[in-house]
């Protein structure tokens, strides 16, 4: 009998639906044609099976000897068996037993597995170890053979045997449930419930179990299908209800005996059995969010690409990179970045700053053509050494990536392939980019590692990513970016995930590289300290557009846009000799989401200087020599000499994490992006 492995363990979301999100009626996951049909079929089989004595056209043992082994007919809709008995009546009379006994198996498996998992998750490591080791042994036993041995000893007692199967499977249930229970317990509201003095049983019943509901439902549906298969398999082997009692397994066994003269006999029973198991699995898949689904943005057709407006004037030869009017949008949806322009000169460092969700990362990624699926450049130009990078084929873009423009990302620990050694990961692109042999590539790899400040390069080359510290991994990632000797390095929050001391080292490394190799850098950061430290030019972004740009020193010393002022006010870097503020400042409110940007100034909703005319569109003004500022009141604010009043974060915001998130106050150091696609 084919026992399916409980593969749900791996891909069921361990983020169960919080109780508040659940709704009455059919769960959203099941409101699609496939799952609805599957549920309908299961319901139909259950109804027809349990009510079989009430509706079946013939008694299970009525023999129509004139029509033995008949195909479907008006008298026998599904045909007859070798004794001329009606298949339709027999199939559904046989149905109650597998359905009930499979339900019993599921009940026993969960009745043991779930309490064990809850106890193990609650009682700490020692208890968990004991239970887990024991279930590991149970898992490693050949359950089919043991089940047969049980039958060999106690005889064919179907319900008892199926209960034993439940015991054997409970180990697998425990393993899945333990993972879920542990992750549920780690969540905040469980702690809150415990602090509030709820008893252990109540915490489990009221909080932990409901959060596990989805996973339990998935597992139950899947196990139900498995149990039905096993039940039928046992009957097929002759360890089920005996004649004249009908059962699915024996009816298929009958069919196998008549495969030469009456193959139809196999069809009705097999189809009902298979459909029932398929239905159980379809329900499980739908609940787990697996299986076929409409993929909205997967296909990108050439016809749907919007017409891109192109300036056409050649790029300024002094700029290595010129971004003009760049607009990045969700395909067929709202813009994430709108009309962004900036330029990078050779050997200079440009910073893109702003809060999370302002489009910095999308802007940076579009430079390499590495936007996420379903997001693309819908307007503007990216002129790289005078050549427009927008609309390049994948092959043309690959020729630029690494060789001319390289990238280092936010999370050094996940930027390297965990399955390959550092040596392999460096040597492979070196050989491709520099057309050298293995030995020479290895030498270059060592040289690159030393160039990024790694002393024991030989040891690091032999290492795997998980053996490196964050700072070391970021140095390796930088070395990797240098393998193609690029002229521009795009660095997306290169120091955010690192310790403060390591941050400084990485920044000075980048500075040294710029000085020594003439590299240009576009650095994305939410940290004005980083910008002040390393950038020659700065572009301040807010809600997908550039609000202020120019040379770093004038922008930071004499900020013209209220948003830049607000960022500076919220900057936690304390100048030498000044006392540490007792409270950190914040910018009230949140960045408006793409699609809900106001028509006028997008910052107006959070600005201290907002007036009526801020809500009408206006052009950017020149500022800071060759920079710009996008504020209609810039001159008044400047002339009046007013400055942004930094609002300290309230005391309650520091204590209640949830509150801080819901009100969206931006704590002094702007929230770091963790998802990488957030801005």
């Amino acid at each position: 009998m084919s026992v399916l492995p409980l593969d749900a363990a791996d891909d069921v979301s361990t983020e169960p639906v919080p109780p508040t999100q659940r709704r009455r009626g059919l769960p959203a996951a099941l409101r699609r044609p496939g799952p609805v049909l599957a549920l309908g079929w299961l319901l139909l089989v259950v109804l027809l099976s349990f009510a079989a004595p009430l509706w079946r056209p013939y008694d299970v043992n009525d023999q129509d000897l004139a029509h033995r082994l008949a195909g479907p007919s008006g008298a026998h809709w599904l045909g007859t068996d070798p004794l001329g008995r009606d298949l339709l009546s027999r199939i559904f009379t046989a149905g109650a037993q597998p359905l009930l006994s499979a339900a019993l198996t599921v009940a026993v498996a969960f009745g043991i597995g779930i309490p064990l998992a809850l106890i193990a998750a609650e009682r700490g490591r020692r208890i968990e170890q004991i239970i887990s080791r024991t279930t590991e042994i149970l898992l490693a036993l050949p359950s089919t053979i043991i089940l047969l041995a049980v039958i060999g000893v106690i005889g064919v007692k179907t319900y008892l045997v199926m209960a034993v199967l439940g015991v054997l499977i409970s180990a697998a249930v425990y393993r899945v449930m333990l993972g879920v229970a542990q992750s549920v317990r780690q969540r905040l509201y469980i702690d809150a419930a415990r602090v509030n003095g709820l008893g252990s049983l109540r915490v489990n019943v009221v909080h932990v179990l409901p959060a596990m509901a989805t996973v339990i439902a998935v597992q139950a549906a899947q196990l139900f299908g498995i149990a039905i298969l096993i039940n039928a398999g046992l009957a097929f082997l002759g360890f089920g209800p005996s004649e004249p009692q009908p059962s699915w397994g024996t009816m298929i066994q009958d069919g196998s005996g008549h495969v030469y003269d009456a193959p139809w006999l196999l069809v009705p029973t097999g189809v009902v059995l298979a459909l029932t198991v398929v239905a159980a699995n379809v329900v499980a898949d739908a609940l787990a969010g697996r299986g076929p689904r409409q993929r909205s943005a997967a296909r990108r057709s050439a016809t749907s690409a919007p017409v891109r407006v192109v300036d056409g004037t050649p790029a300024d030869p002094r700029n290595v990179l010129e971004v003009r009017g760049l607009t990045v949008s969700v395909d067929g949806g709202s813009a994430l970045v709108s009309d962004v322009s900036f330029a990078v000169q050779p050997g200079r460092v440009l910073g893109l700053v702003g809060e999370s969700g302002c489009g910095k990362t999308m802007t940076a990624r579009s430079l390499l053509g590495l936007l996420p699926d379903g997001v693309s450049v819908s307007g503007g130009e990216i002129l790289w050494q005078g050549r427009d990078l927008v609309g390049l084929s994948e092959k043309q873009a690959n020729a630029v990536r690494g060789r001319e423009i390289a990238m280092i990302s936010q999370e050094p620990m996940v930027a390297l392939d965990p399955m390959f050694s550092i040596a392999y990961q460096l040597i492979q692109p070196i050989r491709r980019f520099r057309d050298v042999g293995r030995g020479e590539a290895e030498e270059i790899a060592g040289r690159l590692l030393r160039q990024v400040g790694i002393v024991d390069a030989d040891r690091v080359l032999k290492s795997y990513p998980h053996q490196l510290s964050g700072g070391m991994a970021q140095r390796v990632a930088i070395a990797l970016a240098l393998t193609g000797q690029p002229e521009l390095l795009v660095a997306d929050e290169p120091t955010t995930a690192l310790d403060v001391t390591v941050q400084a080292e990485i920044l000075s490394l980048l500075r040294a590289l710029v000085r020594d190799t003439g590299l240009s850098v576009v650095i994305v950061s939410h940290d004005l300290g980083v910008v002040a430290d390393i950038c020659d030019d700065v572009v301040v972004m807010y809600a997908g557009q550039v609000v202020e740009s120019g040379r770093t020193a004038p922008v930071l010393d004499d900020a013209a846009h209220p948003y830049t002022m607000a960022l500076l006010g919220a900057n936690p870097h304390v100048p030498d000799g000044e006392p540490m503020p007792t409270r950190l400042a914040s910018i009230p409110g949140t960045v408006p989401a793409p699609g809900s940007w106001p028509t006028g100034c997008r910052f107006a909703g959070r600005c201290q200087f907002t007036q009526d005319r801020c809500t009408v569109p206006f052009p950017a003004l020149p500022a800071h020599e060759d920079g710009s500022v996008l504020c209609v009141r810039v001159h008044e604010i400047h002339d009046a000499g007013v400055s942004w009043h930094a609002e300290p974060v309230g005391a309650e915001t520091v204590v209640g994490v949830d509150h801080a998130l819901s009100t969206g106050s931006t704590a002094a150091s702007l929230p770091t992006q963790t998802s990488g696609v957030s801005s």
């Binding site: 036993l141 089919t144 043991i146 495969v259 097999g270 299986g291 930027a415 392939d417």
Partner: protein, 313 residues
């Protein structure tokens, strides 16, 4: 790494011991009476009691258990209650039949499943949906039903393969392969579907991983990203599932051996169950457990070889 292996080895030993204990207790704790089985229905209670004493079943349970263990470590699984043949020798001739069916079915499932799952993940679109949907159906089909359908199509209609029967390898390697083809195919339908799902999910996850973006940012060719990097990380879950599949198919061979009349372990266990042949039952459980345990150990080694995090731990 060594500590890890030592722990797995210890677990393996404990599992085997647990299997011996469980099957031993199962047989002895119930009112099983070997004497009644040996002598058949006509025997008097006195005759049965005498036979039980002769077989040593009247001794204390602990004595019997250690006696059994003592024989077991010398490779002696006892004799059958039905025909007094040596259970060890009998199972030794049957093990290769079941072993090859399970092995071939696992390998074929692996090849077909990986090709379908990976192609579905890379190509996506309608083809991907078709593969995920049909593998969802295929893994739900009962192997015995699939087996009969295959017999109908491949033997009866097309006449390509023998419907039932077993030809030993020594007699004719080609006929041997033919006699295993249908059972292997019957088990492969569901097995390949499960592998295809795992490979598909693994590949899709792998292609979304952050380090894949690093590779793309370096202009790495698509084939290298897919078939070197993403496939390598997909290999770990796929190998694990293949190990589980081998174990499942090994147990599942009871059904196909019945269907195709193959003299394997499954057939032996079915016979032992029907005849209440207790020593044979225990023997089958132990042999099957050893196979499972050894498979799991090999699996650990393969995963360790594939995954540097395990290897260097």
């Amino acid at each position: 790494m060594l500590a890890y292996l030592a722990r797995r080895l210890a677990l393996a030993m404990v599992t085997i011991l647990a299997a011996v204990l469980i099957s031993f207790l199962l047989v002895h704790a119930t009112d099983g009476s070997p004497g009644a089985i040996v002598l058949g229905a006509g025997a008097t209670p006195a005759e049965i009691a005498a036979k039980n004493a002769e077989l040593g079943w009247d001794r204390p349970l602990v004595t019997q258990f250690f006696d059994y263990l003592g024989h077991l470590v010398r490779g002696d699984l006892g004799t059958s209650l039905i025909d007094s043949r040596s259970i060890g020798q009998d199972l030794a001739t049957r093990l290769p039949v079941t072993g090859f069916i399970a092995l071939f079915a696992t390998l074929l499932s692996g090849i077909v499943g990986v090709v379908l799952g990976v192609t579905a993940a890379v190509r996506g679109g309608r083809f991907g949906t078709f593969i995920t949907t049909s593998s969802g159906v295929a893994l739900s089909l009962p192997a015995f039903w699939v087996g009969i359908l295959l017999v109908y199509v491949l033997s009866i209609q097309l006449g390509w393969l023998p419907a039932t029967g077993y030809v030993p390898f020594a007699d004719s390697p080609i006929d041997w392969a033919k006699s295993l083809a249908l059972p292997v195919l019957a088990l492969t339908v569901g097995g390949a579907a499960i592998v295809a799902r795992t490979a598909n999910a693994g590949m899709r996850d792998a292609l979304q991983a952050e380090h894949i973006r690093t590779l793309r940012a370096l202009g790495t060719p698509a084939w290298r990203i897919r078939y070197v990097h993403a496939l390598r990380s997909t290999s770990v879950p796929v190998i694990s599932v293949l190990g589980i599949q081998f174990i499942v198919l090994f147990g599942g061979s009871v059904i196909v051996e019945n269907l195709f009349a193959l003299p394997g372990l499954g057939q032996a266990s079915q016979a032992a169950v029907s005849a209440h042949d207790f020593p044979a039952l225990i023997g089958v459980v132990i042999v099957a457990t050893v196979v499972v345990v050894v498979t799991n150990l090999l699996l650990d080694l393969v995963v360790a070889a594939l995954d540097p995090k395990v290897r260097t731990a």
